[in-house]
Subunit: 125 residues, 4 copies
DNA sequence: GTGGTCTAGACCACC
DNA sequence: GTGGTCTAGACCACC
């Protein structure tokens, strides 16, 4: 089940993008299964302390991106198939990795240093 | 030379920490060489549009961390030796790497996937 | 040039959909050429007597549908290539035709009657 | 039998015109046979949630157009003969067809395209 | 209750 | 000025 109480919003990125991003991560982490229902727009808005319109924008984005389905007035349902899943995984993964590589090069890390350090901490985290 | 005009301050972290962090990155990237002088407190404060006290706090932090020396009234000078350098490198590096590993595991990436992807984009960035 | 002064809004369909629909028709009719700039959100809102947010929603829809491009803060530009054009043409065309056929069958028109009547009035309109 | 519960009124056209139009369509579709009695003015007004005067206006229009007969206090009866039928068919048909042709030309459809598309979807609808 | 649309008005960064 | 985001609050149809 998607636990929105663990989502803390920053002011660096649009809120509706952060919500969609959070749901994507939850899907990849296996916390959101296909068929699962998200809270209603109003409910989530209350929970996050934001405006229902902003939640609506987030839900619309998720529908456009393909992993949320809204039918009539009966709530919104997580949808995933292999294609959607791999597209989400790809997007998040690519983002993470390039952010890391950019920052690593920024401080003159070498490829070997990067790999060694990741290897070093991987199992401890 | 450290170019502070490229530093944009966020409101997520204490400003003086951001300044120190920026200087550290500049040192590692080779843009700040030992012996180089940073702008005066007032000058930098004006440039960044912040209070001179905040800059003072940043300079103090950098002195405490060992890569800035202030002698009398003659301004503040970048100082690095191998020990300082490796300690900075370690700190920044560790942060980057653990942030990456945490996020990667968050979305169920495997070690192999992480390494392969980094390898894939390393030379393109 | 897209002449929005000829667009009259009804209350049967979402306003932002009507705006996008109007622009699509203008493109197909040859009144909106690629590279042409639409008015700013605020300007069009004033012209149509609606809220800028609604115009924003319309422009977003048009971007999503592929025939509008917004780069930075420099206004929004009509974009068309063969693919976009044929996709718009297809959509509008299919809609028109099926609406007509549904209505025609509703009143028990036969295929022959439909064709004969269309042929009869085609050149007079 | 004319099922008025399927009639939803818009605010784009006079309500009494919409009622008459609906009855005409029902006649052409074969749902309203000659001799069939329409509900009383008051009854239909209640059903549609409108003023009985408006229904009266609609019934008057249908009488004037020739397909409704009211004799004394014994209600209103659908009347059709070949002449009436073909006149209704003509009117509705012409409207549909010219609306379609106008819209089709609006988006630069050619006659051939129109015919081909109608032919294509005719049997599927 | 639900999703969805719209307004009025504020604020942001970018130029 | 520009595009874009967000809130507060209203209203709609559908159930």
């Amino acid at each position: 089940m998607v636990d929105f109480s663990k989502l803390t919003l920053s002011n660096k990125e649009p809120v509706y993008v952060q919500i969609a991003y959070y749901v994507k991560k939850q899907i990849l982490a296996g916390f959101a299964e296909p068929g699962e229902e998200l809270p209603s727009r109003r409910e989530l808005a209350a929970l996050l302390g934001i405006n229902p319109n902003t939640v609506q924008k987030a839900y619309k984005l998720m529908e456009d991106e393909g992993y949320l389905r809204t039918i009539g007035n009966s709530g919104s349902i997580i949808y995933t198939d292999d294609e959607v899943l791999s597209s989400i995984r790809n997007e998040l993964t690519k983002g993470l990795v390039s952010d890391f590589v950019i920052a690593a090069k920024d401080i003159n890390m070498t490829f070997k240093q990067a790999i060694d350090l990741i290897s070093e901490v991987w199992d401890d985290i």
